[in-house]
């Protein structure tokens, strides 16, 4: 039999090999059925017994999640318990039995659908998602009335059949309670016909760490129970009944991935130290509190860049001071006291539009009215954010950073507004960190050139390489034809970086980098050699960077960092580093 391939959306990375288990939709009783007159009371008590059974099952699931430390999953079941007491859901079903002589199954089904449809029609994404929970709860009660499998479908169908091998779950969609119960020791991966990368099941898959493919279409449901399948979570590919060669190839991939993971795991929770004992900070770039959780899980020591503009985007009004305060405070609390959290004030404009500000269209938005330029022009807007950051600074080691600074005057104006905000809070008796650090992003060559002057006044620098490269090379980073210019390894960019680090260290200030470059293996040896103090990157790059760092000798890299400044172009720098840093080959 030839192997078939099914393509879907890669929702959670990794490789899984196992036997297919199909989760068939349970047959929900169709239409309305009635009981004889006089049997209402008996039917009602049959219904109440089923609800009670569903409750004790949910309580048990809830307790199990708490014991396992799976808080997110526990919360799902807590909400389900609450729904099980809801008069609109359960009360309405009871009323249908009592008043209209419905059979219990039909009553539960109709009430569940009514409530789920009502929630699904609301103009609120959060509430729409809850309709899946309502259906889930109503199905659980119907199961308890003696329909479908008695226990939860996931463990029942998997543990029973193929106990030695892991199972790969195939389903139209997974209910919230199905996903919450996915046990990585039994389920190797899953494939659903519908869903996207941000669906509930995809998020849980990533947090549990099992490969998953969603949105694979109806083909995913034509698999037969027990067929051998491979899930390639990186490519979003399912291979059904693979040839021996394919199987061997994936087994090898699986082993390598497992080996790498185990290797990286050793670096979780460890300080970021080079082979010769030089310590730096490895932190993450985030855009939301959810990102903060992920970054914390992935081993970041803090946040080097909180892109606050995401709080402003995708809405028609501006975020209030309280709203921003909660987001900054929550992010700080994820990492705990002492962990550095650098909040960058909003960087709107350029490629990020904002309907609520009604910005005019520009010919050159990247060279236009954006970031600090807007903030200094509209201080009332800026003040709201500054007050929010200051208030949150009472709850963690927050630092404030201004983007797109070109002149000393801009920095001083921003600093003065920060002082004003502090003064306001003082007079209102609101707590904040009086010694909060304030720094600037170095992303405009003008600021890099004046780094020595800035260094006397700021508390820190963070180099934003994405913009620094495009402004230094005069190459739009969105234009694919200019890819050869959009490379941070070009010596003119490296020279600016080197200059900025030297200027800061001369004034005993620290320097970070929050562009993509900071997490790139080829760039890390150069930056370490130049003496960069803080590396901020996407969360998934943190552990690999820490592993690489542990094999690098900072002392020996200083000459490499000097040598690359004299090379012709990025290509030459790349091959020079590859040649001289043998650790990169490992």
């Amino acid at each position: 039999m030839m192997a078939t391939e099914i393509k879907g959306i890669a929702a959670s990375e990794g490789y899984a090999i196992g036997r297919a288990v199909i989760l068939r939709e349970e047959a929900v009783p169709q239409g309305i059925t009635y009981v004889e007159a006089g049997e209402e009371a008996a039917e009602l008590s049959r219904f109440d017994t089923a609800v009670a059974a569903a409750r004790s099952e949910l309580e048990e699931l809830h307790n199990r999640m708490i014991t396992d430390g799976r808080e997110k999953e526990a919360e799902i079941f807590e909400a389900h318990l609450m729904l099980l007491e809801d008069e609109e859901l359960i009360g309405a079903a009871q009323e249908r039995i009592r008043g209209q002589r419905y059979k219990a199954e039909a009553a539960m089904n109709e009430s569940g659908e009514e409530v789920a449809d009502m929630l699904a029609s609301l103009d609120d994404e959060y509430l729409r998602e809850r309709s899946a929970d309502v259906r889930d709860v109503s199905r659980r009660v119907i199961r308890k009335l003696g329909h479908g499998t008695d226990a939860d479908s996931v463990p029942a169908s998997t543990t029973a059949t193929h106990s030695k091998e892991k199972s790969i779950l195939f389903a139209f969609d997974l209910t919230p309670s199905d996903t919450a119960q996915l046990d990585p020791s039994v389920i190797g991966g899953f494939v659903t016909a519908v869903g996207g990368r941000t669906s509930h099941s995809a998020i849980i898959a990533r947090s549990v760490g099992i490969p998953a493919i969603v949105g694979a279409g109806d083909e995913a449901l034509r698999i037969e129970d027990g067929q051998l399948v491979i899930v390639d979570g990186a490519a979003g590919l399912v291979l059904v009944e693979p040839e021996d060669e394919e199987l061997a190839r994936y087994q090898a991939l699986q082993e390598t991935a497992a080996g790498q993971r185990a290797l990286l795991e050793q670096f979780r929770g460890k300080p970021s130290v080079s082979a010769d004992g030089h310590q730096v900070e490895l932190v993450a770039n985030i855009g939301s509190v959810q990102d903060a959780h992920q970054a914390h899980e992935q081993g970041a020591e803090g946040v080097g860049l909180f892109r606050t503009e995401f709080l402003y985007m995708g809405r028609s009004d501006l975020p209030t001071e309280d709203e921003q305060f909660s987001a900054y405070k929550d992010a700080a609390e994820v990492f705990g006291q002492g962990a550095p959290i650098v909040i960058r004030t909003m960087d709107i404009g350029g490629d990020k539009e904002l309907p609520s500000l009604q910005l005019e269209k520009e010919d050159n938005p990247f060279l236009g009215y954006r970031a600090i330029r807007i903030c200094l022009d509209r201080p009332e807007l800026f003040k709201t954010q500054l007050r929010a950051v200051l208030r949150a600074s009472a709850y963690g080691n927050l630092k404030i950073m201004f983007p797109m600074i070109a002149t000393l005057g801009e920095w001083r104006q921003a600093k003065a507004l920060l002082e004003q905000a502090k003064q306001e809070l003082r007079s209102e008796n609101i707590a904040f960190n009086e010694r909060i650090e304030a720094g600037i992003m170095i992303e405009i060559p003008a600021a890099a050139q004046m780094a020595d002057r800035f260094a006397r006044e700021v508390d820190f620098f963070s180099i934003g390489t994405n913009d620094l490269v495009q402004y230094t090379m005069a190459a739009d980073r969105m234009n694919p034809k200019l890819g050869y210019l959009s490379d941070p390894l070009h010596p003119p960019v490296l020279r600016l970086i080197d200059q900025v680090i030297r200027a800061a260290h001369k004034e005993n200030k620290w320097v970070g980098m929050c562009g993509e470059m900071a997490g790139t293996p080829i760039a890390i040896p150069i930056l370490l050699g130049m003496g960069l103090d803080e590396f901020s990157m996407s969360a998934s790059a943190v552990l690999p960077a820490r592993a690489l760092l542990s094999r690098l000798d900072r002392e020996k890299l200083t000459s490499l960092a000097e040598a690359v400044l004299d090379l012709d172009d990025a290509e030459a720098v790349r091959s020079y580093v590859e040649q001289h840093v043998s650790e990169l080959a490992k």
Partner: protein, 86 residues
């Protein structure tokens, strides 16, 4: 009957956690407890209903109750609505 109006203070509006607390508070009263926003009046004893009014920060919400401990239930709901904590 007891009836009082409140402004929602929670930045995220009446979402899961506050809604749950409102239902718990409503159950203090033996009789009927209603929550109303923008002409939509629903029983405050149902999580689904409380969620469905979609109350956001700065929205005005009216709470009414009738029966034993009506006052206590309304005040307890008011405390949830006026709280900034999630």
């Amino acid at each position: 009957m007891v009836e009082k109006a409140y402004v929602v203070m929670n930045p995220t509006g009446v979402h899961a956690r506050p809604a749950k607390k409102i239902v718990e508070a409503a159950k203090i009263c033996e009789g009927t407890v209603y929550i109303e926003k923008g002409g939509r009046k629903v029983s405050a004893k149902s999580l689904v209903n409380v969620l469905s009014i979609g109350a956001k920060q700065n929205d005005t919400v009216t709470v009414s109750a009738e029966g034993e401990k009506a006052e206590a239930a309304v005040d307890a709901i008011g405390a949830v609505l006026a709280s900034v904590e999630a």
